[in-house]
Every structure is written in C-alpha cells, then in structure tokens.
C-alpha cells in the first residue's frame, strides 16, 4: 500500500481559496531527499511484513510505522514551503490521496502490531500519542501555516475557540441531563416490570428519529411555549437556539444510558444477590459490595456511547442556531469550501476520540479485576 501511495498525487496547490487545485506527485514537487527517505521506510515496512512474527519484528513494525508518519508530515511541510511563495500570497496547499494513504498505512502498521503486542497499557498509550504529538509540534512551530485547513483556522481563530466551547457545553450538558434522567429511568424499568416496556418503547423510538427531524420537531412546540409563557422566554427558551438543541441531544443520549443501566442490573445473577443477603448483608452493604461494583462499569460504558454520540450529534445543532463546530461544517458546505468543512470536522473527530479513550481508561480502572477477561 505504501508503494502505491508513493505514486499517487501527494499534495495539491491552490493559488487562492476557491480556485481549482493542481495536484503534485511526491517526486515532482522539487523535494530533494524526502521522497527517497519515504521510499526507504516503505521498503523496510514491506520487508518486516514478510519476516513473520515475534516481539522483535513487532517492535520493528511499530518503529517503522511511527517513522513513516514522522517522515510524511515534514515532506508535506517542505512541499508547502516550496509551493507557496511570495508570488502567491493567497496560495495554500492541501494534502491529497498520497498523503492520506501514507497516514492510513502508518495507522494500520502501528495499530496492527499493537493489537497483539503484550506491552503495558501505558506504553501502548504513549506510542499511540506519538503521531498526534508530531502534528501538534508541527502546528505549534508554524510549519503547517501554508496548509489550507490551517489558513481557514487562522482566519477564524476567535470564532473557532468560541464555537468549540459551545460545542463542548452543548454535548456535556445533554449527557449530564441524560445521565440524571436515564439512570433513574433504567432503575425504574428494572425494579417495576410495568415500566419496562413503555420506557424502552419511548427511548427506542426517539433513537430512530433522524436527528435533523428531531431538531425540526422541537421548533414548533418550543416556539409556542415561549410565546405563551414569558418566563420561559426570559430564560432563553425559543423555537431555535440552545434550548431545543439541548432537549433533542438529551433525548438522543438517553437510550444507551437507560439500556445499560437496565442491563447492568439484570445481569447480576440472582444467586449472587441471594448469597449476599443470605450471608447477612443489609441493603446498603448489598449495594456497596455487590450491586455497585458489578453495574457501574456497564453504566459507564453506556455513558461513553452517549458522549461520543452527543459530540457527533451536536454538529447538527448548528442548523437550528445553537452554534458549535457544526457552524464551520455548514458554512463550508454553503461556500463550497471543503477545507473549511474539514476544519470543522477534524476537531469533532479528535474530541470524540479523546473522550472515548478517556472514558475507556476510566472504565478499565473501575472494572474489578475479577470481571476483566483480558487486560485493556
């Protein structure tokens, strides 16, 4: 795959924001030694891939994967510097297929070897953190300034941080509200059989409504409410904006939380509860020593699903004027500026991945050793 990547167009140059780009191959940009370095690394990776299994080969693959990334990015940087000159002040470069395929190759090599490796979770985490660190370094040193995406960001730095905060607040608020409502709902569904069906019918139905439609559905009733009750309007409840977005996002976030709370309780074997109370545990001890340790990891993984979902769904909230990173995505769509879309989407993905990994670590920490089938 690396071999193919070397032949694909590597980088694209646009004289200004909306002009048609011109694609360059790695070899035709005017780079000196970088293409050869990349080719050498790809060749090494190929040889390693053919040399079978073993901890040494695996360590080699990880190193080569990281090296590939570490070499790809500077190559793109240098290409940017060469292509964007003083004659083209609005010029910008954007990575295209060749670049992305090389990044994908990095990912596959590193992840593929890490999956079966018996490294400590800490070491694995550190290795995985290396490529993002390289990117951050490149950004910090200004090396990526000629990149289109970065230029879009530089033009909107203030707006960006503002919308990022809005995005986070919307998602976090929705999940918090969903936890507050969802955990008790799950408990209720489990404790009282009569509630089980209606509760699940409701949250399942909500989940099937497309997000845009749900946002749309909020507009009319909330607008009506806000007109009827001045107090609500004073609190900022309107047909569009934050209030309907929060409500819709909360409703979406409910299902995984309710479902996992319910499941976490129903998978505790009756025998364990019977043994616990038969040995003389009171209600509180049963909760602390038996129910909580067994159910909390499952509830948390429900929250994890919810958060990741909410971060994604919040993007759509921009459409009803609630703000968030979706603003850039839809602006980009409107202006046919793909770089702007990417600028909005990448932070959303990064956010989702970060939160997902963070919660995964937390879940691993609260999962009692006896329940772990294999190390995380």
């Amino acid at each position: 795959m690396g071999g193919v990547a070397l032949l694909l167009p590597f980088i694209e140059f646009k004289p200004n924001r909306v002009a048609e780009g011109e694609a360059f191959h790695l070899w035709s940009i005017g780079l000196t030694w970088e293409p050869w370095l990349l080719a050498a690394i790809v060749l090494t990776a190929l040889l390693l891939g053919l040399s079978g299994e073993g901890p040494r080969v695996r360590a080699g693959k990880v190193a080569v994967g990281i090296a590939l990334f570490a070499a790809t990015l500077p190559a793109a940087l240098r290409a940017g510097l060469i292509l964007v000159t003083d004659q083209t002040p609005f010029g910008r470069v954007g990575p295209v297929s060749g670049f992305w395929v090389l990044v994908l190759a990095t990912f596959l090599i590193v992840e593929g070897s890490l999956r079966t490796a018996r490294y400590s979770p800490l070491l694995k985490g550190a290795i995985r953190a290396l490529p993002p660190t390289i990117v951050i370094l490149a950004l910090a040193t200004g090396g990526l300034d000629s990149f289109a995406m970065v230029q879009e960001y530089v033009n909107r730095a203030d707006r960006f941080s503002q919308e990022l905060v809005t995005h986070l607040r919307l998602a976090a608020g929705a999940v918090l509200a969903a936890v507050t409502a969802g955990v008790p709902l799950g408990l209720l569904a489990w404790k009282r059989r009569a509630f089980e069906r209606p509760v699940f019918a409701a949250v399942n139905t909500i989940q099937t409504v497309p997000s845009l439609a749900l946002f749309g559905l909020m507009i009319a009733p909330l607008a009506l409410l806000s007109r009827q009750f001045p107090l609500l309007r004073a609190m900022g409840v309107q047909g569009i904006g934050t209030a309907p977005a929060l409500i819709a996002l909360t409703l979406y976030a409910l299902l995984p939380i309710v479902r996992n709370t319910y499941t976490s309780l129903s998978v505790i074997p009756d025998a364990v509860i019977e043994a616990g109370s038969g040995m003389g545990m009171n209600r509180y001890q049963l909760l602390r020593l038996v129910e909580a340790p067994l159910s909390i990891p499952i509830i948390l993984s429900g929250i994890r699903t919810s958060v990741v979902q909410a971060i994604g769904n919040t993007t759509v909230a921009a459409l009803i004027g609630a703000g968030g990173l979706g603003v850039f995505v839809f602006q980009g769509l409107g202006q046919a500026a793909p770089d702007l879309i990417v600028m909005g989407v990448i932070p959303i993905i990064v956010l989702a991945v970060l939160v997902d990994r963070g919660l995964a670590v937390l879940i691993a920490l609260v999962t009692p050793a006896g329940l772990r089938k294999d190390p995380p």
Partner: protein, 371 residues
C-alpha cells in the same frame, strides 16, 4: 439445636408449609427431602429468615429467630446454595472472608482465616487464594461456597441442594468431603436435597416432606426398612433394599478371611479339602494378588469317582478392582461381589493387605429386615 413449632408459610391461599414441627439436635445432619415443590426449601429458608414464617415459632438454642436482628441472625448461620453465588468481582479469599468482613474483622485476620479454610476444604491456599470465581470449576466453586459459609465459624449450616449442580462423580467426592468436615466440625446442619442416595449417605436423620407436611422423620435406615406409608415406599423406590445397604459400613461386618501366601499355593492344592472355601492369596509384603479356584476334573467319570481330590489354581486379581475399604458401604461391597461373581469380597487396608472379608450371607441377612 433448631426447633420448629407449628410453623406454616402461606402465599395468599396456597399453603407452602403446613404447621410443621421438628427438632434438629446440635451436631446432627438433618436432611429435608421430598418431591419438588413440597416445601423443603421454604422450610429451610425460614430458619435464616430469607422467608418469614406466616405463623408458628422457630427457635435456635431456645431463642426465637424472629426476635433477632435479621442481619445478625444470618451472619451467625452458614448458608450454602445450589448456584453457589460467589461474588464474581472478588477473589477467592475475599469471597471466603466476606462474613468476617461484614462483622468488621480486620483484613489480616480475615485473610489468615481464609487460608485456614482453604486448607480445611483441601484446596492449596497459595494456589487458590487469588483466583477469581470464573477461573474455578463447578466443584471448586461449591467447595469455596462451603468454606465461605464456615468462615465466621457459625454453629449452624443451612445447605440448599448444595451439590445439585455438580456432576455425579464430583458430587460423591463432595459428599465424602462434607462427611469428613462434619466429623471434625460437628455443626448442626439442615440440608435440602431431592437425591435420596445423597440423603442416605450423609444424613443422621431424614425428614420426608410432601405437600408442606412431614410424612416421616426417622434415620435413613428406618425410612428404608420401615416406610411409614405407600408414599414413602414409592418415594424410596423399589430398590430400597439396595439403597438401604448404603446405610451400613463394611467395617461392622468384617469376617476373618482365609489367606495363604503365594509360595504355598502348590502345597495347598495337593492337600485334602472337603468344602469350597474362599482362599485369598498374598504376594510379597502381604499384598493381595489373587484367589484360589477349584478345578474340577476334566472327565465326568473322574469327577464322580469317590475320593477324587480337588485341585486348585490361582486366579490373579487386581486389589483395586475387587477390594473394599472398611469405610465403604455394604452397597459397594455387594456391587463388587456381583461384579466379580464371588461369594466374598476382601476388605483391604491402604496398602492393599487383607484385613478380612465380607460374605454374601451377611448381606442377605441384612436385607431380611426389609424383605
């Protein structure tokens, strides 16, 4: 001592337990048995108030269980259930030490106690203390369950079909171990089962329950020998005579065995012997190696001729195939007898040397009482 006086349990209109009175003496193993749904488990669960009696009084050593705080009551009673119910997130030693933990015993003392109990139930503490329930076999988990019930050294054990989910082979091992433990610990045990063989094996007294009432309360031997009515007779089955043999230990029926050593076989064969005794042959170090068999003369004429001398030859035996131990039951002795087609089985010590023998007529005599 556990005593029930007129205890009933009703669910609405259905009566699960109907005015039961019984007494389990201290140090006794009392087995509750009966068809499923007869109320035996309900009866058991009223002792530690997993269920509360609708009427009547249950006392432990004279104290009404209803008057004690329920948690305190339960912590003073060991409780073993069929599905074990080990806490999956706790290690074996934390599972065993859970009741001491509830009682506020410090960690060091708790873990020491857990190791003692692992020793007691015959599992190596070094190997097992840090395992988790999902790493245990069914039999191991059940043993840990018993150890857990014993952790706070309660005088009373309630066992609700504890070996019911274990395969037959392991069940017998667990029963033997339970008997060994019980001989050492002398707990007052109430034990629910639907397996008559299990009841006969481990019970001091058996209570047969039907439709929430006690049908017969007696020793296993009495129940088999003198079933009170048709229900009991049907319940114990047509093979009750055979089952009853499980109540008797070989050590009470050992007779002197005739034995010669291997070198003397030829000499013996040439001697005069009018009857047909069972003669065991010992090899080196007195270990059983075979039995003598009479060879009748080949031709009919020779056999008929008066004064024909019997000759013998030795048939090799494997001690572990034919012998029984003094602790074995008479049922096992009979099954060995039938299996080998002999009139006696040798009773062997641990080194496979003959202690004595058990004879068929003795077993038949034992059964006279039933038939």
């Amino acid at each position: 001592m556990i005593e029930f006086t007129g205890v009933s349990k009703r669910y609405g209109d259905t009566v699960a337990v109907d005015s039961i009175s019984l007494r389990v003496e201290a140090g006794e193993v009392c087995v509750l048995i009966g068809p499923s749904g007869c109320g035996k488990t309900t009866t058991l669960k009223m002792v530690n108030r997993m269920l509360n009696a609708s009427s009547g009084v249950i006392t432990i050593d004279g104290r009404d269980v209803a008057s004690l705080p329920v948690e305190q009551l339960r912590r003073s009673i060991g409780y073993v259930i069929q599905s074990v119910g080990l806490l999956p997130h706790l290690s074996v030693r934390d599972n065993i030490a859970i009741v001491p933990r509830l009682n506020g015993v410090d960690r060091r003392t708790r873990y020491k106690r857990a190791d003692e109990l692992l020793d007691l139930i015959g599992l190596d503490p070094a190997q097992y203390r840090l395992k988790y329930p999902h790493e245990l076999s069914g039999g191991e988990a059940q043993r840990i369950g018993v150890a857990r019930a014993l952790a706070a050294d309660p005088p009373i054990l309630l066992m609700d079909e504890p070996f019911g989910a274990v395969d037959p082979l392991n069940r017998e091992v667990l029963q033997t171990e339970f008997l060994r433990l019980q001989r050492a610990l002398k707990k007052t045990v109430m034990f629910v089962t639907h397996d008559l063989d299990e009841a006969i094996r481990i019970a001091d007294t058996v209570i047969l329950i039907k439709d929430g009432r006690i049908v017969q309360h007696a020793t296993p031997e009495q129940i088999l020998a003198r079933p009170r009515d048709q229900f009991v007779r049907d319940f114990v089955g047509k093979d009750r005579a055979l089952k009853r043999l499980s109540c008797f230990a070989v050590r009470d029926y050992i007779r002197q065995a005739r034995q010669i050593s291997q070198q003397d076989v030829a000499a013996y064969s040439n001697g005069e012997h009018d009857e047909e005794p069972v003669v065991w042959v010992n090899g080196p170090a007195g270990v059983l190696v075979g039995v003598l068999q009479r060879i009748t003369a080949q031709s009919g004429a020779a056999a008929l001729s008066a004064g024909a001398r019997a000759s013998f030859r030795m048939i090799s035996l494997k001690p572990e195939d034919v012998g029984v131990a003094p602790m074995s039951s008479m049922k096992e002795a009979l099954s060995r007898l039938l299996g080998q087609g002999m009139r006696a089985v040798p009773v062997l010590d641990e080194r496979n040397c003959i202690i004595g023998e058990v004879r068929l007529p003795d077993i038949e005599e034992l059964n006279q009482a039933v038939l």
